[in-house]
């Protein structure tokens, strides 16, 4: 059966859709606001033990000996897991690129502060932590490798002796005649940038309960897994189990922003469970474990970025050199973040040629993980600063240089130099909207007045692309193969006309269960309360990936609408029999199966489902009594990457334009955000409230990136920001209230014309805030080129300006 997914809300079989595309209250919320949602740490199982993990205090050391005898003797301790168990029962961690990690417990050496070394299962977490203090590990410390430049030039100690190098990946991608473009340029603008590590920090850390089945040699894991099926495949590889002997059950999770699913913890808990003969073992990562050893650090980057320009401001070429410090292994998906920029390499601009000189190195820091945006935000930040510097050199307004280089609205679909195709967009409209909303000319006048008083006021104007609906092919260059990312949904109608939607992902915060209910209520013309959404585990659910890469809203919509279409066509056959009318004269519309042109001659969903349930004598021969359909959606038209990494990868290109007004305290270096305006275009908004929330949430994380958040390691590889007293999350005092305007250029390629809009402002805010800071201090002859623009850094720049 060919399934054609509607590209607009108007194509739904409903004359008056009430829910999709409108702001509705979320079905997830009543449980959340009453504290009734079952997060992993709420779960208790009979015989359950609690795991605590002893972690390395050294960045780089050889393990000489481990003595666990006193810990084993402590009352309440049931099992202690060491490298001996791990070498016996487990394989090294899976990695991208392949072959760059050790085991889930350090075996021969430790490579970062916080690396797991020994684990304990005890009757409760208190006793388990007591036991850790009784373990003696003798280390022979090694020189730490903490400088990515030294790691790259070969002068740092090597982490993996068998590799003989710390360079994990090194290649130059050239898309078009880049040298010629730079040679012919009227002007070349070049700058170097440093983006320090930061990361996701969801309010709920990662947690899991692993239970080994010693009879069948099988594993069940409950936990806050972002992508349960893929996580299960990885566990099979690491734990040496057949893939169908692993069952992952994703519990609702308290935020993710990339990386939820942890690394190592579920394997350690699984092996402890195996060692205890199959008792469930719970591991809840505490916040200090998360900060030092969790999936919470990303984007430790050194950029050199050059633009080739004509005298009129037209950008004719882009060159990006990135040295990416991935930390101690490639086990946590971090390398993918260096590949994803290919999906939107040249931003909103029609830059015909580009080069990407990419080096990824290993150092003695926590392995890098995914974080909201998955890599492009730092590149956008560097690109947008450079565009502003170019504008200043050319005497152009930031709005003018951007407008000159936008991909024109009539040029879509548009293939960028790095190979991806943007579906649609109107970048001028977004720019016009923020200029109007902010009264841009008045702001410039205000800036002039402030400057005359010696105050440092600046305006940041930035636009970015948010690639939506990720595809593996975008990551091919670093060794993650594949084209297409299936997402399935199963729709069931019961004999009372109630609808259940079964999916393969759990709550994470984005409100997708609500979107599912909106869609189904409008397709079947019922109330949202008639729809229930349930999560199935990795074995039972249809093929799925879940949230990630700004994909799930679009992918889930495709899966549900596909399943709805299959199911209603099947039910229509039954209706045709009941109505004693040929199939082609029947239709499903406005919630009933009816004779075309005779809407009063109809049967209901419940009639058909009831007929399947207990009326087999009325069923046509070719219809089985199953009022259920599954459809698995994947993005259409994706192509494998070519030898230069070019592919049709991310399906959608949402765009946003942000304008920020800041004031820098000329004496203290403190930055205050005084105004913030956003125009945002992500095509059809399935639930506008969800989109606004993601947009504003991205602003908050972007402000954190721009001003507050930074993991600091010293030269010995010690983490100096190991608590929330030093790793600073933005609060209501730092995050601005923003004025937002929604624009809509539907995608021609997606279900209902929606675009991915999950990562949102994280692409834009860091760049916008720092552009504003640089605008405020431009006349002083200094530039903020390091993230975050923390007060100590800004103050130092202001001192440089004075001297």
């Amino acid at each position: 059966m060919s399934v054609k997914i509607p590209n607009s809300i108007g194509e739904l079989p409903n004359s008056e859709p009430r829910f999709i595309g409108t702001e509705v209250e979320r079905i997830e919320d009543p449980h959340l606001v009453t504290g009734r949602t079952e997060f992993i740490d709420n779960m208790v199982m009979p015989g359950m033990l609690h795991c605590a993990i002893l972690r390395s205090p050294h960045a780089h050391a050889r393990i000489v000996s481990i003595d666990t005898s006193a810990a084993e003797a402590l009352p309440g301790v049931v099992a202690v897991l060491t490298r001996d168990d791990v070498l016996r029962w487990a394989n090294p961690m899976t990695t991208i690129p392949e072959g760059w990690a050790g085991h889930c417990l350090a075996t021969e050496r430790v490579r970062f502060v916080g690396e797991p070394v020994v684990a304990v299962a005890a009757k409760n977490r208190y006793v388990a932590e007591d036991a850790l203090e009784l373990i003696t590990v003798e280390y022979e410390t090694l020189e730490a490798n903490t400088d990515a430049r030294k790691a790259a030039d070969g002068s740092a100690p090597v982490l993996f002796e068998e590799k003989g190098t710390n360079t994990i990946f090194e290649r130059v991608f050239t898309w078009g005649e880049v040298d010629a473009a730079f040679a012919a340029a009227d002007r070349v603008v070049t700058e170097s940038y440093r983006w320090h590590r930061l990361g996701a920090n969801p309010l709920e850390t990662f947690g899991c309960i692993s239970q080994w089945d010693p009879i069948e040699n099988a594993l069940t894991c409950w936990g806050s897994f972002q992508s349960q099926y893929h996580f299960g495949l990885g566990r099979a590889g690491v734990l040496g189990l057949p893939t169908n002997k692993i069952r992952i059950i994703s519990q609702p999770h308290g935020g993710s922003f990339g990386g939820k699913g942890g690394f190592r913890g579920p394997d350690i808990a699984a092996l402890l469970s195996r060692k205890t003969g199959g008792r469930p073992v719970k591991w809840i990562e505490d916040r200090m474990e998360y900060l030092a050893g969790g999936a919470g650090q990303a984007w430790d980057r050194h950029y050199d970025l050059s633009l080739a320009l004509r005298g009129d401001g037209t950008i004719t070429g882009l060159s990006v050199k990135l040295l990416d410090d991935l930390g101690a292994s490639a086990e946590a998906w971090g390398a993918v973040s260096a590949a994803k920029p290919l999906a939107a390499f040249t931003g909103n601009y029609a830059i015909p040629v580009a080069r990407y000189d990419l080096t990824i190195v290993a150092t003695n820091k926590l392995p890098g993980s995914p974080y909201r945006g998955m890599g492009p935000p730092p590149q956008n930040w560097a690109l947008e600063q450079t565009v502003d510097f170019a504008a200043r050199e050319l005497g152009m307004d930031p709005a003018e240089i951007r407008r000159r280089n936008y991909i024109p609205r009539d040029a879509f679909p548009y293939t960028i130099a790095s190979g991806n195709e943007y579906d649609s967009g109107d970048y001028d409209a977004a720019l016009d909207a923020v200029l109007e909303m902010s009264n841009y000319n008045d702001l410039r006048a205000e800036q002039e007045r402030a400057r005359a008083e010696g105050r440092l006021v600046g305006i940041g104007l930035v636009n970015t692309i948010e690639p939506g609906v990720f595809d593996w092919n975008a990551y091919a260059i670093v060794g993650q193969p594949g084209t297409g990312v299936p997402e399935g949904a199963t729709i069931v109608v019961d004999p009372f006309g109630k609808i259940t939607c079964k999916v393969g992902f759990s709550l994470e915060g984005q409100g997708q269960y609500t979107v599912a209910a909106q869609l189904l209520a409008d397709w079947f013309k019922v109330g949202m309360e008639d729809v229930r959404v349930v999560a199935l585990d990795s074995v039972a659910a249809p093929p799925h990936f879940g949230p990630g890469g700004s994909r799930l809203g679009v992918a889930l919509t495709g899966a549900i609408l596909g399943a709805c279409q299959i199911l209603t066509e099947k039910m229509l056959k039954v209706a045709s029999g009941l109505l004693q009318t040929p199939l082609e004269a029947c239709e499903f519309y406005d919630g009933v199966f009816r004779i075309k042109g005779m809407p009063e001659a109809c049967v209901t969903l419940a009639d058909i489902a009831g007929c399947m349930f207990a009326g087999s004598h009325l069923l046509p021969e070719d219809v089985d009594p199953n009022p259920e359909a599954t459809y698995v959606w994947t993005a259409p038209g994706r192509t494998p990457a070519d030898e230069e990494g070019r592919a049709k990868s991310y399906l959608t290109a949402a765009n946003a334009c942000h304008l920020v007004l800041v004031e820098v305290d000329a004496e203290t270096g403190m930055v205050e955000i005084k105004g913030y305006w956003i125009a945002d275009d992500c095509g059809t908004r399935l639930n506008p409230a969800n989109v606004e929330g993601m947009t504003q949430g991205g602003v908050a994380q972007g402000v954190g990136a721009a001003l507050l958040e930074e993991y600091v390691y010293d030269d010995d590889g010690q983490l100096l920001t190991s608590t929330f007293m030093d790793y600073l999350l933005p609060t209501i005092y730092e995050v601005p209230m923003t004025e937002k305007r929604a624009l809509c250029t539907p995608s021609p390629f997606t279900p209902l014309g929606a675009k991915g809009a999950g990562e949102g402002s994280m692409h834009t805010t860091p760049a916008a805030v720092v552009c504003a800071i640089n605008d405020a201090i431009a006349h002083l002859g200094v530039r903020a080129l390091e993230m975050p623009a923390a007060p100590r850094r800004v103050w130092t720049l202001l001192q440089e300006a004075k001297s």
Binding site: R26, D29, G35, L203, E204, G255, R287, G693, F724, L729
Partner: protein, 170 residues
């Protein structure tokens, strides 16, 4: 192991007696011993506010309080804010104004806001910020939460004026 100590606390109007280790934190007592898992643990060092509860009517971090310190106290957790499936006006406001996404921090926010509105039924913007400044939300960016508090204050005031404050407000 230290000697166990007997404590008696009233939680959400119900009296509990327990023998516990002195080192047991209050949040672990509420979650582990009483099964009141609506109070969440986010940082265990008093910064994020996910574990906020009311202690004798005042909002506190239950992760940096020992259960023994609460002996003889009256505690209120998110489970005590509404009952019978009905929602407190604060909870309704959070839903209507989309003041949550993942919802993990929300119980802590609700508890802080309930103290705020008790103490200041028509809070100024500064007062709202003061009360929320120590509650971290990683999802929403606070704008909708701020709106939810404004709306909740209106709802609570209106309920008070119409004499219908009893609805779910304990």
């Amino acid at each position: 192991m230290a000697d166990l100590r007997k404590i008696r606390v009233t939680v959400n109007g119900e009296e509990h007696e327990a023998e516990i280790e002195p080192r047991l934190t209050l949040v672990d007592f509420l979650r582990g011993e009483l099964g009141l898992t609506g109070t969440h643990v986010g940082c265990e060092h008093g910064v994020c506010g996910a574990c906020t509860i009311l202690w004798n009517g005042r909002s506190v971090r239950s992760c940096i309080m020992l259960a023994v310190q609460a002996d003889g106290s009256e505690l209120k957790t998110i489970e005590g804010v509404s009952s019978d499936g009905s929602l407190h006006p604060i909870q309704k406001a959070f839903i209507e104004e989309h003041g949550l996404q993942c919802g993990f921090c929300t119980p802590g926010f609700v508890m802080s806001v309930s103290e705020l509105l008790e103490h200041s039924p028509d809070p100024s913007d500064d007062e709202i910020k003061d009360y929320l400044g120590g509650q971290i939300c990683r999802c929403t960016g606070y704008q909708t939460i701020f709106g939810a508090v404004k709306s909740a204050a209106r709802k609570v005031r209106e309920a008070g004026e119409s004499g219908a404050a009893g609805e779910g407000t304990d």
